[in-house]
């Protein structure tokens, strides 16, 4: 293995600045990566990480400053140009054409060909080999649309490997992976390192950095906020690098639960028709459902809220039966759902912050569009949740992930719910916004709200929940409490090993 410290700088950005309308995304930022080095890039959402990576991947061009490859200044004209020079970006939003087959997606843009014609068999064979190196056993003819999110992520990585990239940029690669897949990914990253391939790793999960990174680079408000060598990596140092201040991550006091707010009896969903769930959440109680992807957690929340049909069973909210398959009735009964996919289910990205915030409650103000209410709600929610935007008129889609999630939360708080369902509430949300969301949820629970949330982040589950339930194959397999309340025990239950 080549020692990263002695190998040559492969890719470097020098004094790079980039402005978008209304925002200085990057201001005189420098960054470098050497062959065989794993550099973790951290920073809050909106700190400029994605912009910097997009410049390195040829998608944006810097306003000033330059990019150097092997010590020579280059102008990266397009993603294709960057790819040809050995720089591959694995995009944060899993960016695959899901109408293609796995092998077609693997070779998209670099098809094996005889003249203009495709060599399907050769591509299928090669795909199978690349995928099996990542421990992925899927047939090359499978449609991408049939893959789970974790498998799609692995496919993207396999694609970058196939392109013989010298630098692989991974933008939050683990946000949709199961623990097994994450472990596998880490092995792959180490293998890349042994082959002298540089990896730039953007993540919000501080625990991953300690495991993987040779060096940590921080960005804050579009500027360099410092570097940390491997030896100096600690949770506090990382948080310091990102937000410039410490954050308390201690578990808060459990609440005193009140009356039953939500009661599920024998509820089964399309995902697992044979399994069923019985569950109770009391007022002022925060209940977490942990489990692997595909364990039926999201489907359970969707069935409660009425997005999906219920096959059997009943739901009661504060003692009253809630009919299924009608989200409107659920909202009227005081249930709110913060969905898993913020961009397609949580927000109308092309509408303004104010319009999004007032969407579930505007009709309560009568048929006439109440602009006063809309503005008022926007002003108060923006202040209350600390949403970083110019004003309520800004487009929701132009905000960072953390701020978007605050809008989704804010619009439901305006509906004054009794039961709040959250599906992966902090996916793709930075540490600062996370703390804000945790604090707010805590306050809401104090004031009597019943919270039921699904999360793949065990740290978050342990931090936030009064009770932790673990789901597997559509059923609640157990509850971890007291001294058993550890990440390890949750994983054991989630994967089916016995305690």
């Amino acid at each position: 293995m080549v020692s990263p410290a002695t190998s040559k700088v492969f890719l470097r950005a020098l004094g790079v600045s980039k402005a978008f309308p209304g925002v200085q995304a990057l201001d005189d930022v420098s960054f470098e990566v050497r062959g065989g080095e794993v550099v973790a890039l951290i920073g809050e959402n909106g700190a400029g990480k994605s912009t910097l990576m997009k410049i390195l991947a040829g998608l944006h061009r810097p306003d000033s400053g330059r990019v150097e490859l092997h010590g020579e200044a280059v102008e990266l004209l397009s993603p294709l140009d960057a790819l040809h020079r050995g720089i591959a970006l694995i995009h944060q939003e899993l960016n695959l054409c899901d109408n293609l087959t796995v092998s077609a997606a693997m070779f998209l843009g670099a098809e094996l060909r005889r003249g203009p014609f495709l060599c399907e068999r050769e591509m299928a064979d090669a795909s199978r080999q690349w995928l099996s190196r990542l421990g992925l056993d899927i047939a090359p003819q499978t449609k991408v649309s049939a893959l789970r999110p974790g498998q799609r992520q692995m496919l993207e990585i396999a694609r970058a490997l196939r392109s013989e990239a010298r630098v692989i940029i991974m933008d939050e690669p683990t946000s949709s992976l199961t623990q097994v897949e994450v472990d596998r990914l880490f092995e792959v990253v180490r293998e890349l390192q042994r082959k002298n391939i540089a990896v730039i790793y953007i993540t919000h999960r501080l625990s991953e950095i300690a495991v993987l990174a040779d060096r940590v680079v921080g960005l804050r408000d579009g500027r360099n906020s410092g570097d940390l060598p491997r030896e100096q990596v600690s949770h506090d140092a990382l948080v310091q690098l990102m937000v410039g201040r410490g954050l308390s991550g201690t578990r808060r006091q459990p609440h005193a639960p009140g009356d039953v707010a939500l009661k599920l009896r024998d509820l089964s969903t399309r995902a697992y028709p044979e399994a069923s769930v019985d569950l109770t959440v009391r007022r002022s109680e925060v209940v977490a459902i942990a489990g692997l992807l595909g364990s039926g957690r999201s489907e359970l929340l969707r069935a409660i809220f009425g997005i999906d049909d219920r096959l059997t069973g009943s739901v009661e909210v504060a003692g009253n039966s809630l009919p299924g398959a009608d989200p409107r009735k659920a909202v009227a009964a005081g249930v709110a759902l913060l969905p898993e996919d913020r961009k397609s289910e949580g927000l109308v990205l092309s509408m303004s912050v104010a319009e999004n915030l007032s969407l579930p409650t505007l009709h309560r103000r009568g048929w006439w569009l109440d602009r006063g209410y809309q503005t008022e709600l926007a002003t108060s929610t923006i202040a209350d949740l600390g949403i970083a935007c110019r004003d309520g008129e800004q487009m929701a889609g132009s905000l960072s992930g953390g701020n978007q999630q605050k809008i989704v939360l804010g619009k439901w708080l305006a509906a004054d719910p009794q039961v709040l369902l959250l599906d992966e509430p902090t996916r793709g949300v930075d540490v600062g916004a996370r703390a804000e969301i945790y604090r707010r949820l805590d306050e809401l629970a104090q004031s009597g709200l019943a919270v039921l949330f699904v999360s793949s982040e065990l740290e978050e589950v342990l931090l936030l929940a009064d009770r932790v339930l673990v789901m597997r194959d559509g059923e609640i397999r157990g509850e971890v409490s007291g001294d058993d309340r550890t990440e390890k025990n949750i994983m054991l239950l989630a994967t089916g090993a016995t305690l």
Partner: protein
């Protein structure tokens, strides 16, 4: 694939029903099955099929081309003009018209890709623009081919004899060539692969290094080129064109055929076989109306109703299958 079998089945059913309904008790004939009717039907299928493939090229990229009918009008008026007024030889006039049509496609591509205008707006304006220009250009006069087009007319009116009374219309052979070439491009070449990828997720395709802009432009060029070819066939078939109505509504026939044949409007989905079957069903329905009702007043209504029922049926079957598979689990 199931969907294609469904359409093929539907075509068979409609054909049988038409045969039965149009039975002439007086003479004991089946007018639908007469060589004349079948040749006519297949000739129209050949011409409209080319237009549907044209539409499909753009729909696959996630765009739309509403100007197909007007491009048909352009080539329908310009071909007689080149042959007649300009005295251009046939071997030069036909490529010249196709080149003009391709240039229109290039223009659309430039507007859609270069200026990032919406395909719907660009081609809707094209629809109005080209027809208006043609009406002015021809002074609303009928453009006749006269003797000048005689050497080309075989392309539209000719047939390849199969039996004594029945021959395969040449336009159907043209369609066969166009469809085969398109099928090979879509399924077997890198170009087709990239076209479908960008149609579903342009961003992802761009990240993968696909030249999305150039390909999209090429799709518009292919579309207008085929529409121009269709226009030539149509004018060669009827011998003259009147700018005010030549090719009117043909873009809707073209799009309906493609969509009916399983080309998804959201892009990235479709098979050439489906497009041809969809176009065939459209022409068959129109033939049915003419034979059974002896008038074409109801044609649009029946075509609209059939497509609507088809779409609803398709959706219901899809849900039923999803429901069944959920139950079985």
């Amino acid at each position: 694939m199931n969907k294609l079998l469904g359409i093929a089945g539907l075509i068979l059913v409609v054909a049988l029903v038409t045969t039965w309904l149009s039975y002439d008790a007086v003479t004991g004939n089946f007018p639908f099955l007469s060589a004349y009717n079948l040749e006519n039907l297949l000739r129209r299928l050949g011409m409209f099929g080319v237009l549907s493939i044209a539409a499909a090229f753009v729909i696959v990229t996630g765009g739309i081309d509403l100007s197909i009918g007007s491009v048909v009008c352009v080539s329908g008026c310009v071909l007689p003009w080149l042959l007649g007024s300009c005295g251009m030889p046939a071997w030069l006039a036909l490529p010249a018209v196709l080149l003009l049509a391709a240039a229109i496609g290039l223009w659309h591509g430039f507007l859609v890709v270069g200026l990032r205008l919406q395909p719907f707006v660009v081609t809707l304006c094209g629809l109005l623009l080209y027809r208006g220009l043609m009406r002015n250009f021809t002074g609303d006069q009928t453009m006749g081919l006269g003797d000048a087009g005689e050497s080309l007319r075989w392309l539209a009116t000719g047939k390849i004899p199969i039996t004594d009374s029945f021959g395969l219309p040449v336009p159907l052979c043209v369609l066969a060539v166009v469809a085969t070439a398109t099928g090979i491009i879509w399924q077997r070449t890198v170009w087709g692969r990239h076209l479908f990828a960008l149609g579903r997720n342009e961003e992802a395709a761009r990240f993968a290094g696909v030249a999305t802009g150039r390909l999209t432009v090429l799709a518009y060029v292919a579309c207008s080129l085929l529409a121009g070819l269709g226009g030539c066939l149509f004018v060669l078939d009827v011998n003259s064109a009147q700018a005010s109505n030549f090719g009117n509504f043909y873009e809707l026939y073209a799009i309906a055929g493609a969509v009916l044949g399983g080309v998804a409007l959201r892009g990235g989905e479709g098979l050439v076989v489906g497009v041809v079957l969809g176009a065939a069903l459209m022409q068959l329905l129109s033939n049915t109306i003419n034979l059974v009702a002896n008038s074409n007043q109801l044609e649009f209504a029946v075509v609209g109703a059939v497509i609507l029922i088809g779409a609803a049926f398709d959706e219901l079957v899809r849900r039923w299958v999803a429901f069944r598979s959920a139950r079985r689990k």
